[in-house]
């Protein structure tokens, strides 16, 4: 079977095309989802791509979280459907309370755009099984609201349960607490991170490496073996 992976386009989404392309390169069937869709067109997993959905009005992800497509995504994610939130997608997942914590303005207030080294901390989620724990990868990072924040109790809980999926490994680029770049829910089907694996899937562009491809090959293996 070919896995069908949906990528949501909100008004203001930027990275939906790259995400669809990454899905295709990894070997699955990419499916475009529109923010007004309440039906997910029989996809097996969903990617919430990066960008500035609804202009980041109110807070990044705050308005997208209430869009028709998200009502269904939230319901399905709670039932176990794999969901990956990249950058703005991660912000949407926290606003939707599918992942704990929140993203704030970078501590230095600048927009960052750089190749970022990450350490894979949890290689057992639906989206990270093709990596190994402790592996270092490099993917682009580009955001202004990327400072991951949660209260101490939540941070301790995330650490204790192995739910910190990725940590910034060379420098902490935005003041994220405990160098957290990405996290997973307890079930491992919902993962969010600020850096952009979908921009690092072909040797010709971006970092020149394909370190991001593992997200998409991981989920395809999981879906095909399911």
């Amino acid at each position: 079977m070919t896995a069908r992976i949906g990528v949501v386009t909100f008004p203001g989404t930027l990275d939906d095309r790259d995400s669809l392309r990454a899905v295709r390169i990894a070997g699955a069937e990419p499916v475009s989802l529109w923010h007004r869709d309440t039906d997910l067109h029989q996809v097996d997993a969903v990617v919430l791509a990066g960008g500035f959905s609804y202009g980041d009005y109110l807070r990044a992800g705050a308005i997208s979280r209430f869009s028709p497509v998200m009502e269904t995504v939230i319901e399905q994610a709670k039932a176990g459907m794999p969901v990956l939130g990249i950058c703005n997608g991660f912000q949407i997942l926290t606003e939707a309370h599918l992942l704990p914590g929140a993203m704030l303005r970078n501590n230095h207030l600048h927009f960052i755009c750089r190749d970022q080294k990450l350490r894979v901390e949890n290689a057992e989620t639906a989206w990270t099984s093709d990596y190994t724990a402790g592996q270092e990868i490099s993917v682009p990072l580009k955001n202004v609201d990327g400072r991951y924040t949660a209260d101490e109790r939540t941070l301790d809980e995330l650490e204790a349960e192995g739910r910190v999926a990725f940590r910034y490994s060379d420098v902490n680029p935005n003041g994220s607490l405990r160098d957290i770049a990405g996290i997973t829910n307890a079930a491992g089907n919902v993962v969010g991170l600020m850096p952009h694996p979908e921009h690092a899937v072909e040797p010709l562009i971006g970092t020149g490496r394909t370190d991001g491809l593992g997200f998409f090959t991981s989920i395809i293996k999981k879906l095909v073996n399911a």
Partner: protein
């Protein structure tokens, strides 16, 4: 029409680099004596009909689920016309 104001502020323990940038600019502009600045958001809601307990309860719900992200922010709800604080959180 009654106006209800919802003020949203980052929780005290959350770092506010925007407020810090404003505070650091003040001495250069000749405004001395400001030890700290924190930046927030103010929403002015023009309410149709009476602002009774039920209306305020709905506005509180709106603030809690949408206008503020209570993971990082606190909010207060005030009826502005009467200049009396009805409810706060």
């Amino acid at each position: 029409m009654a106006r209800v104001v919802v003020d949203v502020m980052l929780k005290p323990e959350i770092l506010d680099p925007q407020g810090q940038a404003v505070q650091r600019a003040l001495p250069r502009l000749g405004f001395d004596g400001i030890a700290d600045v924190r930046q927030g958001k103010r929403f002015e809601l023009e309410v149709e009909g009476p602002v009774d307990a039920a209306a305020l309860a709905r506005i509180n719900e709106m603030a809690e689920t949408f206008l503020a992200n209570t993971v990082i922010e606190d909010f207060t709800v005030k009826i502005e016309a009467d200049e009396k604080a009805e409810e706060s959180k």
